[in-house]
């Protein structure tokens, strides 16, 4: 059964259909929410997203995208409400223009870290990114969405997704390049 049918049945009170739909998408929504608002908010955003779906506060139009994109759109709306998007986004826009994509020498740094350390360091770096770059990294890299799908969710052109992703990676490289100094100071 495809997502559209599951969504339709779930809205009509079919518990099995809801269970399948939830199982298919809740993890991705949770990860997105956790990266955008913190892990503590993950449960709440997942719940708000699926409740909105069940109560049909947002109508699903299959011609405008997949069910996954629809769910991410609702989750994004919930996340933006939580993070007082207005002020954050203004700050992000300024950073958007100011980012300098300078060559990084991080490979050698990261190679010195164990896998666990690398993952933790990168996760921390991702979570410290401005929201618009974090969102691009989460959707395109961690959730492996194509640019078009990410652009649909982020409500921006594909080119903007590309540039945000490019700058997000540059910022991550810079943040990770600064990491060994901290490690060095500890040892």
């Amino acid at each position: 059964m495809d997502d559209c049918e599951l969504l339709d049945r779930a809205r009509r009170g079919d518990e099995d259909a809801f269970g399948q739909l939830f199982a298919r998408h809740q993890r991705a929504i949770f990860r997105y929410a956790a990266h955008m608002c913190g892990r503590d908010a993950g449960d709440d955003i997942v719940q708000e997203t699926f409740l909105a779906v069940l109560k049909q506060t947002g109508r699903y139009d299959s011609s405008r995208g997949t069910v996954s994109a629809y769910l991410f759109g609702i989750a994004r709306h919930c996340a933006l409400k939580r993070t007082a998007a207005g002020a954050n986004r203004r700050g992000d826009e300024e950073i958007d223009e100011a980012v300098d994509v300078s060559p990084a020498c991080a490979p050698t740094v990261l190679e010195e870290l164990s896998r666990t350390e690398a993952v933790e360091a990168l996760r921390a770096a991702v979570d410290s990114l401005p929201a618009i770059y974090r969102e691009a990294i989460v959707l395109c890299e961690l959730e492996e969405m194509d640019y078009a799908a990410a652009a649909g969710i982020m409500q921006c052109p594909v080119g903007t997704v590309r540039s945000r992703l490019h700058r997000a990676k540059a910022l991550l490289a810079d943040k990770l390049a600064a990491k060994p100094m901290v490690s060095g100071s500890r040892s």
Partner: protein, 171 residues
């Protein structure tokens, strides 16, 4: 230099993060709370559907009763008869013969209707009624008959309309 060219390690690390987080998900209580919501939706739909069906049934019943009453009123007093026996209805003086019992005359009935139909003239002979020629002399191939039909749809009795009465009706 492109960012992707100079940071394959970053791509690898991102893959590792994605892999590491693949098992993350909402806690079971979230799903349970949402399932309760789905059950509530299901219950509400059932109640709504049941209400609609009941409303349609009541409407159909009321409409049926109204139609029945209208039809009965239109047929007048003669339309609804009491089962006092076919032979007491009508008579020679009314321009009609007495009622002749039919196959279901023994079946009890609470009410019924009289329906006027055309039957072959030969049917009169089978009930022992002599066909009466109309005044003009030209005999029609059919004669009029009143059939008493019970509310269950079974024909209880029949009577025949005399020629004089037919003439009156034609006039």
């Amino acid at each position: 230099m492109q960012n992707g060219d100079r940071s394959p390690w970053l791509e690898d690390a991102l893959e590792q993060v994605a892999e590491d987080e693949s098992s993350l998900g909402a806690s079971p209580c979230v799903e349970e709370r949402l399932r309760i919501e789905v059950r509530a939706i299901s219950r509400a739909r059932r109640l709504r559907t049941g209400g609609i069906v009941s409303a349609i049934a009541v409407f159909a019943l009321v409409a049926g009763i109204s139609v029945w009453r209208d039809a009965a009123r239109r047929h007048g007093e003669a339309a609804v008869v009491t089962p006092t026996g076919p032979s007491t209805l009508g008579g020679a003086d009314d321009g009609v013969t007495a009622f002749f019992p039919l196959g279901y005359s023994a079946v009890p009935m609470g009410g019924g209707r009289i329906v006027r139909i055309e039957v072959p003239r030969a049917a009169l002979a089978s009930f022992g009624v002599a066909p009466v020629e109309p005044p003009g002399g030209a005999s029609a191939p059919t004669a009029l008959a009143d059939v008493l039909i019970g509310e269950d749809g079974l024909a209880r009795a029949v009577r025949f309309v005399r020629a004089a009465r037919i003439q009156e009706q034609k006039q």
